[in-house]
């Protein structure tokens, strides 16, 4: 039965990918890529990876679709007709594709017990998490504690990406900016949309806080909470216009949130150093090492959540502000 569901989901994924390739209408492509993101999230659920599925559903199906639609504002709806003889593109694609296929042959087989991922490290994580970290969600334990340094790097990557987008799009002088939804739009008198959005927003924000705070016990954590929070905020901005959204979260606060999250994360590492432990070794944060782990994980997850949410919202504002002219 599970096999059947897996095959059906993968077939849907392939169908969505082929449909994306064959369409020329960019609006349809943006919608289809949202469908693709939702299907990937379902595949992750089928693979027992709800932490990843939550992120994929919020980013792949939610935020990135909105960003693509915002991009359509200034590139137009139609894809350029393909060039007559894309020989060079074909050569590059075939070369990269064969290199990737060649690389796949070196990967361990699916479920191979000798694969590095299933070696001593994974067993250590699975067997010792309860004792060393004291939390039931092993994914959070690996992400935030065992591999805390990697996650610090990932958070820095997100901040860097956000800075890159803002540097490319956000440097426009203020008068060239366009306020989406500020001028009379066709959805201005969407009373039902507004009422439902207002009804859902508190629930979405509460869910984001829950995912943030409950990440040690159930699927979730800083990344997931950040994207859920940003998605809720994007919903508000789409329904009520970016001017009102900006009034709630001013740009200065977004910039502080972007950098401040990473600062909190790095500071936890510095504090552990000062207390005589290794960098990001949370054991030293409290008298009891398990309590120390809890404190450290909660602190860095807050940092991750702040950075992810602020970067996503800031990137959306940057896209929404660009004048299509």
């Amino acid at each position: 039965m599970t096999l059947f569901a897996d095959i059906a989901l993968l077939a849907f994924l392939i169908a969505a990918a082929i449909a994306i390739l064959r369409k020329r209408d960019l609006f349809t492509i943006a919608m289809l890529s949202g469908v693709y993101g939702l299907l990937s999230a379902a595949v992750f659920v089928a693979l027992d990876a709800p932490d990843v599925a939550m992120t994929e559903a919020a980013v792949g199906a939610g935020t990135s679709t909105v960003l693509m639609l915002a991009t359509l504002h200034f590139v137009g709806r139609e894809a350029m007709p393909p060039r007559k003889r894309p020989l060079l593109a074909l050569i590059v694609t075939v070369a990269v594709g064969s290199a990737l296929v060649y690389g796949v042959s070196d990967l361990p087989l699916f479920g191979d017990p000798k694969a590095p991922a299933h070696g001593d490290v994974a067993r250590h994580y699975l067997e010792r998490t309860g004792e060393e970290i004291g939390i039931p969600n092993v994914v959070t334990a690996v992400l935030a504690s065992y591999r805390g340094f990697d996650t610090l790097g990932e958070t820095a990557v997100i901040l860097t990406a956000g800075i890159g987008v803002l540097a490319l799009l956000g440097m426009l002088p203020r008068r060239q900016r366009r306020e989406v939804g500020a001028e009379p739009a066709p959805h201005r008198d969407h009373t039902i949309l507004r009422v439902v959005a207002k009804m859902l927003l508190p629930l979405l924000l509460m869910f984001a806080c829950y995912v943030q705070a409950h990440g040690e016990l159930s699927p979730g954590g800083g990344f997931q909470a950040g994207v859920v929070f940003a998605t809720a905020f994007l919903l508000y901005a789409l329904v009520f216009g970016t001017r009102r959204a900006r009034a709630i979260v001013p740009e200065a606060w977004l910039e502080r949130g972007m950098a401040g999250g990473l600062l909190v994360y790095g500071s936890v590492g510095v504090v552990t150093l000062l207390r005589g432990g290794a960098f990001l070794d949370y054991d030293v944060l409290a008298a009891d090492p398990t309590v120390g782990q809890h404190v450290g994980i909660i602190a860095i997850e807050l940092g991750v959540g702040a950075t992810v949410a602020s970067v996503l919202i800031a990137v959306f504002f940057a896209f929404a502000d660009v004048d299509p002219a």
């Binding site: 959805h187 039902i192 949309l193 439902v196 009804m199």
Partner: protein, 107 residues
């Protein structure tokens, strides 16, 4: 008792699946945006409701079924809203149901 519940639950879920397939064929065959949206609405309201309620019954009453019912409540709020917004935008962009078009332009 459990068997009865399971049978009823899976029966409802299968009925929901059948309704969804009928609605999907409607989405492919109906002539214009508004009737197709009507078909899509059947999946969202009746199809999803039958599947979710069926699963909630089959799984026995507990936190899982409470969660399924909450998902249903969420769907019943969001999908009619999405449908409404879609219809409104379609109307604002000048699309009209075919019969209405005929009435207004005259035979």
């Amino acid at each position: 008792m459990t068997d009865v519940l399971a049978t009823v639950g899976y029966g409802l879920a299968i009925a929901g699946a059948v309704v969804s397939v009928i609605a999907a064929s409607g989405m492919l065959r109906l002539p214009d945006v508004f009737t197709r949206m009507h078909a899509a609405g059947v999946v969202d309201s009746l199809g999803a409701a039958l599947v979710l309620v069926g699963l909630a019954i089959a799984g026995g009453f507990g936190t899982a079924s409470a969660r399924l019912l909450m998902i249903l409540a969420f769907l019943w709020i969001t999908t009619p809203t999405a449908c409404h917004a879609l219809a409104k935008i379609a109307r604002a962009k000048g699309l009209m149901p075919p019969e209405r078009e005929q009435q207004e332009t005259g035979p």
